[in-house]
């Protein structure tokens, strides 16, 4: 698994995984604010199937970290009621595809409660969804469902790609007075970075993209599990003479037009990269809005490298589906370099 560098920690830094950073974020949030409650399937005694919530039930008790009955609509629906009463529930969906039973609660209630009540009933609620493939998961365990959430006004949609962001963005999500769908890239759970567990990392504001790598030839616009792949592609591209910039969106909603467009205006070329299926996926929105805003800076159309428009493949075939370095470089090659020179 790719190792992603985080912000350097002050003292006595040691390697931590993204999974640990997420767990730490939950712990710190619970310790700071008694209104924060964690709930979901197997989050208590077991500590979650990915062990993100490990130790929370022990530290804060079953009422703060609760093993619920096995019913996702019920989990999210009761969390809505808890938020209505002033709590800050953090819900874990066990896998991407197992969030679908809660879709109605999410779309019809979570996303609309504040607006419905003219702001009188905000819903501070975080829905953690482990998402994406690359872990050899069997059917229904590797979906990229961000397109559904992006198309639902009223939700924030956030996804980290580094250990530091995992901590900082999850803290910000829990602190937000709005509902946040927090997408955790499963295959980065075991990615590592040095950090100092005594000095937890900063809370990151929601809604700002970051340039993970500066470059001048073209911009790779990406997020979550595809960030390390893009960074790898950018390294490989040097051999071809391309100096690629990599923008990590971090937040799909709100969308940071400013950072993205500043980069594309500089480079004049862009490729959007994500695992989610291409058709109707996030890349269409991103390419369209970049084109609307940067049309006269573009030397070539904004291209997309995405998962195929197919149900997520079985483990033995997933490598053919996932956008990899070669596919990204192929797309970069199609950015009409001849036209420029």
């Amino acid at each position: 698994m790719t190792t992603v560098a985080a912000k350097p920690a002050a003292v006595a830094a040691k390697p931590a995984t993204m999974a640990q950073a997420l767990g730490r974020a939950l712990r710190d949030a619970m310790a700071e604010d008694p209104a924060v409650h964690v709930m979901g399937e197997d989050v208590g005694t077991l500590g979650g199937v990915f062990r993100i919530t490990d130790g929370l039930a022990g530290e804060f008790g079953d009422d703060r970290c609760t093993d619920t009955p096995l019913a996702e609509a019920g989990i999210l629906g009761t969390a809505v009621g808890m938020a209505m009463y002033g709590l800050r529930p953090v819900v874990e969906m066990q896998f991407d595809a197992f969030a679908y039973p809660a879709f109605e609660q999410l779309v019809s209630h979570v996303a609309r409660m504040r607006n419905r009540t003219k702001g009188r009933m905000p819903l501070p609620l975080t829905v953690r969804v482990p998402y994406g493939g690359g872990i050899g998961g069997v059917e229904h365990h590797s979906d990229s469902s961000e397109a559904y959430y992006m198309a639902t006004p009223g939700l924030h949609v956030v996804t980290p790609s580094t250990v530091a962001d995992a901590y900082g963005l999850l803290r910000a999500a829990i602190a937000s007075d709005d509902p946040v769908v927090f997408l955790e890239p499963k295959r980065l759970y075991w990615s590592k970075a040095d950090w100092n567990p005594e000095h937890p990392l900063a809370v990151e504001p929601i809604g700002r993209a970051v340039v993970r790598r500066s470059g001048r030839s073209a911009t790779l616009i990406t997020y979550g599990p595809s960030v390390p792949v893009c960074l790898e592609a950018a390294e490989a591209a040097r051999a071809e003479g391309w100096d690629l910039e990599v923008v990590d969106l971090r937040s799909l909603v709100p969308f940071d037009d400013e950072t993205v467009c500043a980069s594309v205006r500089r480079t004049g070329r862009a490729v959007v990269v994500h695992e989610s299926g291409g058709f109707g996926g996030p890349g269409g929105e991103i390419a369209a809005r970049v084109t609307e805003r940067c049309f006269h800076h573009l030397e070539a159309p904004v291209l997309r490298v995405a998962g195929f428009d197919i149900p997520y493949p079985p483990p033995m075939l997933e490598r053919h589906h996932l956008p990899g370095v070669d596919r990204i470089l192929d797309a970069v090659a199609r950015l009409q370099w001849e036209a420029e020179s």
């Binding site: 009621g81 409660m113 419905r116």
Partner: protein, 390 residues
């Protein structure tokens, strides 16, 4: 399997090993089962013991509620409401639900339950926002402890459970009462809500208004259960079957269920057997799916008439009281009529104000666009300012 005499089952009893270790019944099923017939108070000995003040209060509320339903339906004809789902015939359920709760408790109404919200003290104009179409929820749920009137059926039931659970964790002694129709009991959310409530022993009362129909679909196509109250046993909570047109019986059963929940006894499922006298909404044609005879049979079991008869027999209702109730109801209707005729004074910019705590940059752009359009419209420069889709 209609009869339980499986070939060798009769042999049982001679040898009974202990149940396997993981299996123990967690509750005794018998006390969870509802009565075989809907519980009644009016017209029975029990009514003699009911508090006269309560009965008179219920009567006044029912009369006012019926008038409110008629007025709201009339407002649809005048285009003042987008739609109105009447609770005429179900006023006893609506009023009893409201009156069973203390001030600190929460009510979770479905889309049909504006009357319950009003009986709880909500301003009718605020209650009608959703159906008038000036906004979705026209009141502050926290101020009134009334959750938004809920359109997607049964989806507010888990909210009630979560809220009651949170209140219990805080030790606030707050109870939630959630309302759903017979049709709504078929939804998955009904099941999940009741199960969570029972597992968490949440202080919540579920009131099913079984009015015989989900729009046009009769109960027999909705369930094959002995009663909807029988569903309770599958969750390990008590089920109660009540005559939904008997305001006194409803008030007693609901009050008892609320008290039980508040005392830490956990949730109760109450089925109120009632009937929707009006069509599903003003837009519905009920003659397509039910006959006059059926409606008439239920008119003969009218909640107001049942209560009036009891009160009259006991000398608790004189002409004066009847007139007072009617006048009071007329005043409420007149006030509603007058205020619903006023322009709600909407600001289209509100469309962007409450989607998030802070509008996203995207929403700020869109708000600016609408602002410019409205300004242009105000200046009269727009060619065609009116009409849907322009």
């Amino acid at each position: 399997m209609k009869s339980r005499s499986l070939t060798v089952m009769d042999q049982r009893g001679t040898y009974r090993p202990a149940p396997p270790p993981a299996w123990q019944p967690r509750t005794d099923a018998a006390p969870l089962l509802p009565d075989a017939e809907p519980y009644r108070v009016l017209g029975t000995e029990a009514a003699r013991q009911a508090d006269p003040g309560l009965l008179r209060r219920l009567y006044a509320e029912l009369v006012r509620g019926r008038r409110y339903n008629a007025q709201a339906t009339a407002l649809t004809k005048q285009g003042r409401l987008a739609v109105y789902p009447s609770s005429t015939g179900q006023e006893a359920c609506q009023v009893a639900a409201a009156l069973a709760l203390e001030d600190r408790d929460w009510l979770f109404p479905s889309y049909r339950d504006t009357l319950a919200a009003i009986a709880r003290g909500l301003d009718p104009v605020q209650a009608l926002s959703l159906l008038r179409g000036d906004w979705h929820t026209g009141y502050d749920p926290r101020e009134h402890r009334i959750a938004p009137l809920c359109t997607p059926l049964a989806t507010q039931l888990p909210h009630a459970v979560g809220l009651a659970h949170a209140a219990r964790l805080k030790g606030d002694g707050v109870v939630a009462l959630a309302m759903v129709g017979d049709g709504g009991t078929s939804e998955g959310d009904f099941h999940e809500a009741l199960n969570f409530a029972a597992v968490w022993q949440a202080p919540v009362v579920f009131l099913v208004q079984n009015n015989g129909f989900a729009i046009s679909v009769p109960l027999a196509k909705q369930t094959a259960a002995p009663s909807l109250a029988h569903k309770a046993v599958g969750y390990g909570m008590p089920g109660r079957l009540v005559d939904g047109n008997d305001a006194a019986a409803l008030h007693e059963v609901l009050t008892e269920a609320v008290r039980h929940a508040r005392a830490g006894g956990g949730p109760t499922l109450v089925e109120a057997v009632t009937y929707r006298i009006d069509a599903h909404t003003n837009a519905d044609d009920a003659t397509r799916y039910r006959g006059d005879a059926e409606v008439q049979a239920w008119r003969d079991h009218d909640p107001i008439a049942l209560l009036a008869r009891e009160l009259t027999e006991r000398g608790l209702l004189d002409e004066e009281a009847v007139r007072k109730a009617r006048d009071d109801a007329e005043a409420v209707a007149a006030d509603l009529r007058a205020r619903m005729n006023q322009d709600p004074g909407l600001d289209p910019m509100d469309l962007f104000a409450h989607v998030y705590a802070e509008p996203t940059p995207q929403l700020r752009e869109q708000a600016a666009q609408l602002r410019a359009e409205l300004d242009a419209e105000a200046e009269g420069t727009a060619t065609t300012p009116e009409g849907t889709g322009r």
